[in-house]
């Protein structure tokens, strides 16, 4: 039986060449809405019931993504009266946005393959005859 493989059109890696982990993709997704600090990212992940990660995983992923240019440290800070000035804020870079789009496309393609194999129901509404 031939080994199944992803079609060539599915992007395998983000443009930076860094292999995106689950944690990295979740962080990128959380930064799509705007800049956040570490705890802000974690809170959003918890609210979305997306992932539970510890400080080691979060800052390890942040370090690698900063190195790959997928995210950057935000220069604009919120009002000091409203926030702790010791926090660092992170923002998505254009490369990070492209990586998030590519990973989302890859996951979408995987889901469509799962649908084709009837692992998941077809989301299109059934057109019933009248």
């Amino acid at each position: 039986m031939p080994k199944s493989r992803l079609p060539d059109t599915v992007p395998q890696n983000p443009p930076s060449g860094l292999h995106l982990t689950n944690a990295m993709f979740h962080i990128l997704l959380s930064l799509v809405d705007g800049q956040k600090h570490g705890y802000g990212i974690m809170r959003e992940l918890e609210e979305r019931h997306a992932a539970v990660m510890g400080p080691g995983t979060l800052y390890g992923a942040i370090k690698r993504m900063l190195g790959a240019g997928l995210i950057g440290e935000a220069e604009e800070r919120p009002d000091p009266r409203l926030d702790d000035q010791r926090r660092r804020y992170y923002r998505l870079t254009p490369a990070g946005h492209a990586a998030a789009v590519a990973e989302a496309a890859r996951l979408e393609e995987l889901v469509s393959q799962a649908r084709a194999k009837q692992l998941l129901p077809d989301p299109r509404p059934a057109t019933g005859r009248t």
């Binding site: 539970v52 400080p55 390890g60």
Partner: protein, 213 residues
Amino acid sequence: MSPAAHPLAASVRLYRRLLLLYPASHRAEYGRLMSQLFEDQLRVAWMRGGRLALVELWGRALLDTASNVVLEHLDRWSEPMRNGSRLLLAAAAAILVVPFTFVVLNLLQYGLHLSIPWNPHDLLWPQIRFTVWRYLYDAVIVLSAPLALGLLMARQLQLRWRPQVDALAWVVIRKGDRIGLGLMALCLLLMATMGLYFIGENLPCILGQRLAC
């Protein structure tokens, strides 16, 4: 309960101790942020579920620390092996001096019959009287080129996380610099020359055409 003995304060202190397990460079850059984040998590867990929630959070924190400490140390260790590592390049070049000198001088002297009175091989070999030292001498000459090749190849490796298989893996960096690739080619050339020499030298003995070898 004194403030210092409060479970949150004690937890923060203990977590700061745990951070010492990380490489110093990682700790210097992210230690304060990690400790601050854990403090935030502790506060929320305490408000939501008291001691039981703290125990659960600690369970996750210990697993998180254990896996990430290993990852950060491996990452730091693989750092010198990344492209542009001059240390490995210099070590490989230094090691290559031995087999290069041996091969070039002996080719000139015995291949082209040039007189080289200061050939280190001719000066050293008669001085080595014990068999063990002779084997060691041969081993240094023969194994230097493969050792240098190993160092140069290690330079082309990088430790990366492969999400497809959820595992760390050594990845070959295909882009190499000219000096590194040139030295790798030299290693292969020296190994081939010495291999041919040793085969040519020992083949008559192996085939039984010569008894004194």
